[in-house]
């Protein structure tokens, strides 16, 4: 999972958790960024320093998180800034743009971000260069960290200024010593993250390799501290290999490299093992999806089926249903799509529900409201009660066959029912990747030698 995805997940969690309040006193006064609140304005502290203005910009972006998900904006890293973000940025520039000369220190990088958002690239670069010339940035570690931050803001704006970011990355790479390595790791990882979202796998792999090299230069303390980032760089490469080969060997080889490099760092052995289990599913026949209840638009009840490409969606939700629907429609008869759902004991706030009572609700939601055009497998989730009363679900047969505790979202199987690609998270940026994967395997000659026979598919 990339840092951007993690960030987005956190954002979603926060948005659900926060109380939904917007202020309206004498006139509408907006506050908050939570789901259900109104778009934020650059008010309060943002009147006094550009950093807070940038925070207001971020809040504007996060406010539209759902809108972005629905329209595939932002996740692709190729779009332009939303109007609200631009508006906040313009307001920030009006407040601080004219007083650039008086701003120093930590205000300059946020100012550069504001200027970038308003299209003033020259002003942004001047602000960054002024910051880099300040004496407190002489220590290598501080300078490297600041340069990593600069790389990030040029990649994070829309459209991303990749060339400028790469220019600062060169400056970052020119720094020597272990103190510079954390900044270099973050800088290269940010670039890899960008390339992942524009689906340029070769560039992503190259940037990830540079991040790994920087990781090797870290001192012992920092290696423990940044082990997760180094592992994510390895995983970028493994994902690219999984995408390229559709087989287990190549990504597992990358994980073996990771194991040699960082396997002894805290928590890394477990992460590597979990992903290794996931990749071990590649190239093998996918198990037949079994269900207590099949609800099917086509009256089909067994997945995967010989001769057809298959997409299994283990996290059917309103986020990925539109894309799933498009895939099913575009591919027509050559593709079967199955949504795989496990009962949870309640549905949309109704509950507690028995499995028998939950199924009609699930059916109504997916077929009547979301208008899915694919099959829906529903399994009753067996569970135990912990001593403190909590429900502890047990994995069902499909979970054991496919999800392996990794939170699998989408699985693509080729025409022989062999697992070719697994995504552990849904992002609209994945839709073109799924389309490309389906295209690849619809054109590929069937290969009976690439799959093992351990699956339950017949």
């Amino acid at each position: 999972m990339t840092s951007m995805q993690r960030e987005t997940r956190t954002m979603r969690t926060s948005a659900r958790a926060l109380i939904l309040v917007a202020g309206l006193v004498a006139a509408p006064v907006w506050s908050g960024m939570a789901q259900g609140s109104a778009p934020p304005e650059p008010d309060g502290y943002s009147k006094y320093w550009p950093g807070a203005c940038v925070q207001a910009m971020s809040r504007s972006r996060s406010f539209y998180w759902r809108a972005r998900q629905d329209t595939a904006l932002y996740t692709s890293a190729r779009d332009t800034l939303l109007d609200d973000v631009r508006r906040v940025a313009r307001d920030c520039k009006e407040r601080f743009g004219a007083t650039t000369a008086s701003l120093t220190g930590h205000d300059l990088i946020p100012l550069a971000e504001v200027l970038l958002a308003t299209g003033d690239d020259a002003g942004a670069k001047a602000a960054v260069d002024r910051r880099l010339a300040e004496p407190d940035l002489k220590p290598v570690g501080v300078r490297a960290w600041t340069l990593a931050q600069v790389v990030n803001i040029f990649l994070d704006t829309r459209p991303a200024r990749v060339d400028v970011a790469r220019g600062y990355l060169r400056q970052l790479d020119a720094l020597k010593g272990a103190d510079a390595a954390p900044g270099q790791l973050r800088g290269w990882y940010a670039l890899a993250d960008y390339y992942e979202h524009v689906a340029d796998d070769s560039a992503m792999v190259a940037a990830s390799e540079e991040a790994i090299k920087a990781g090797k230069r870290l001192n012992d303390h920092d290696r423990k501290e940044f082990a997760g980032t180094i592992f994510n760089a390895y995983r970028n490469i493994a994902e690219a290999e999984a995408d390229r080969t559709g087989d287990a060997a190549a990504p597992r080889k990358v994980l073996a490299r990771a194991s040699t490099d960082i396997g002894k760092l805290p928590r890394m052995a477990g992460s590597i093992a979990a992903w290794d289990t996931l990749y071990s599913r590649y190239g093998k026949k996918g198990a037949t999806v079994l269900a207590d209840v099949w609800i099917s638009a086509q009256n089909d009840t067994l997945f995967p089926k010989a001769g057809k490409l298959t997409v299994l969606n283990f996290r059917p939700s309103r986020w990925n249903i539109p894309a799933t629907r498009r895939l099913a429609r575009q591919a027509g008869d050559s593709l079967d799509v199955a949504l795989v759902y496990s009962t949870v004991g309640y549905f949309r706030g109704l509950g507690p529900l028995t499995a028998a009572a939950e199924v009609p609700e699930v059916r109504k939601y997916f077929f009547d409201e979301l208008k899915i055009n694919s099959s829906l497998a529903i399994n009753e989730t067996k569970y135990k009660r912990l001593p403190d009363g909590r429900r502890m679900p047990e994995p069902n047969v499909n979970d054991k066959a496919y999800r392996t505790g990794m939170g699998v979202s989408i699985v693509v199987l080729d025409r022989e029912g062999i697992v070719r690609r697994i995504w552990t998270y849904w992002s609209n940026a994945y839709e073109p990747r799924i389309v490309a994967t389906l295209k690849k395997y619809s054109q590929a000659a069937t290969s009976s030698t690439s799959g093992s026979s351990e699956g339950r598919h017949e």
């Binding site: 659900r16 004498a26 509408p28 259900g36 759902r66 309103r318 949309r348």
Partner: protein, 466 residues
């Protein structure tokens, strides 16, 4: 030559009618009428919920023996939530004319445009059953501007005569809360509140005393006694001596106990305990429910029907508060949770909200007995600026305030200079020597706690504060 008129003392009552009637707080009928109007202005289907909070306060504040503020204020707010298939928009306003309400509704509906339906969302709750505590006091409601100023003058007078500087705050209030919705929620309750606190300092700034309490009923607040306690503490705490910081046996008056225990009460959240690292987290994914977290003499409970503790019996969404023992004889029994948590984890749909009002069990040892049985220790009135430094252990810091005394061989020896502490309620309330009789303290949420003597309380440095 015309002599200018003497300025009127603010202690003198103003010759005007006290604010009363509908402007004080909204009645059940007012709330129903407002909800009906909002409902009529609402368009586009879906559900509608409104939370109405209507406050009236009458206050009197004085400092340096001189009145500074006095008045009546009323504030009525409505929080409007529109729910269209799980997509929710919420806006608050304190303007109740049709145009403002329409604007609020349109804003809430505009917010919904950004959010599609959410299958995980909890729908607006329907009708609920509530407990019916007695929370109303005519004595409180009837304490108008004149008796308030008279009371304050009487309380400030002794300090004035003793050439001390007194400050104080007296407030009476009425609060009506309503949650009404198209899904059948039909909650309304009104309560009164009163609070009084007094601080007395000497002119040289070396001594300070404080006393205060909150209660629904002004008639149950003995303001004269509190003012006298504050005056006496000021005198007794004058010219403190510095002693070495370190671990001391500490006798905490109830206000200080509340200030430490409140940190633990705020953390009573089951989802947070299981998903984040809070003081009630045993390990990732598991809370400490069923385990001992405090001394076995401590029981923390809450009950809207508690005659000394009562509070409005529903939360901001209209879910009922119910009696609960969070901690029973030191063992963590319950943590609060939402309806969503109840559905997904516990197999029922009844949330357990935390009202933040609580009663802490006590013992029968008086503060005098605690002092008499202390070989060497300190007595503290209350703390100031208590902040949590480390969430998972609730390690907190703050300073003693308004009176700290050294005890030696069962007697108070002399006042000592204030000190900063670095300590956790989870440590000190597992290290209890004696407990006193629980009493109401000064707090926004009704709270009843005892005085407590704890061992090895960690004062980490001297604090140059009065």
């Amino acid at each position: 030559m015309t002599r200018s008129r003497e300025p009127r003392s603010l202690f003198d009552p103003v010759d005007r009618a006290a604010a009363e009637g509908p402007s004080r707080h909204m009645t059940r009928e007012d709330c129903d009428a407002l909800f009906k109007r909002i409902q009529q202005l609402s368009t586009g289907g879906g559900d509608l919920s409104v939370r109405i909070d209507s406050y009236w306060t009458g206050n009197f504040r004085w400092a340096r023996n001189t009145p500074t503020t006095a008045g009546d204020t009323a504030n009525h707010r409505v929080s409007i939530t529109r729910d269209i298939r799980g997509a929710m928009g919420n806006v608050q306003t304190n303007k109740f004319d049709d145009a403002s309400l329409s604007l609020a509704l349109r804003t809430a509906e505009r917010v919904i445009q950004f959010y599609g339906e959410n299958p995980d969302s909890t729908p607006l709750p329907g009708k609920q059953e509530y407990l019916k505590p007695q929370l109303w006091s005519d004595t409180t409601y009837g304490l108008d501007a004149e008796p308030r100023s008279n009371a304050a003058r009487a309380l400030a007078e002794p300090s004035l005569q003793a050439k001390l500087l007194s400050a104080g705050y007296l407030e009476v209030s009425a609060h009506a809360a309503a949650v009404l919705s198209t899904t059948g929620m039909d909650a309304y309750y009104a309560e009164t509140g009163a609070e009084f606190s007094a601080t007395v300092r000497n002119p040289s700034g070396t001594g300070s005393g404080w006393a205060g309490v909150s209660n629904q009923d002004w008639g149950k607040i003995d303001a004269a006694s509190l003012a006298e306690i504050a005056r006496k503490k000021c005198v007794d705490s004058a010219d403190p001596r510095a002693i070495e910081p370190g671990r001391y046996t500490l006798i905490m008056e109830p206000q200080a106990v509340h200030q430490m225990m409140a940190q633990a009460i705020y953390q009573l959240d089951r989802y947070a305990a299981e998903n984040f690292n809070t003081v009630y987290t045993l390990r990732p994914g598991q809370s400490k429910i069923g385990l001992k977290v405090f001394d076995e003499r401590i029981t923390l409970s809450t009950d809207p029907m508690d005659p000394e503790l009562g509070y409005i019996p529903f939360d901001y969404q209209g879910y009922p508060y119910r009696p609960v023992k969070w901690v029973d004889k030191g063992i963590l029994k319950e943590l609060s949770y939402t309806r969503q948590y109840a559905l997904s984890q516990l197999g029922h749909g009844t949330p357990l909200p935390n009202p933040y009002s609580y009663r802490m069990s006590g013992g029968d040892t008086s503060i005098e007995e605690m002092i008499a049985t202390t070989k060497r220790g300190l007595l503290v009135t209350r703390f100031n600026g208590v902040n949590v430094l480390h969430g998972p252990s609730l390690l907190s810091t703050g300073t003693s305030r308004d009176g700290l005394w050294l005890i030696e061989n069962g007697k108070i020896k002399f006042p000592v200079k204030n000190m900063r502490f670095t300590e956790s309620p989870m440590f000190i309330f597992n290290n209890i020597a004696q407990l006193g009789k629980p009493v109401r303290v000064y707090s926004g949420n009704p709270t009843i706690v005892p005085p407590v003597k704890v061992m090895d309380f960690n004062f980490s440095s001297l604090a140059d504060a009065v």
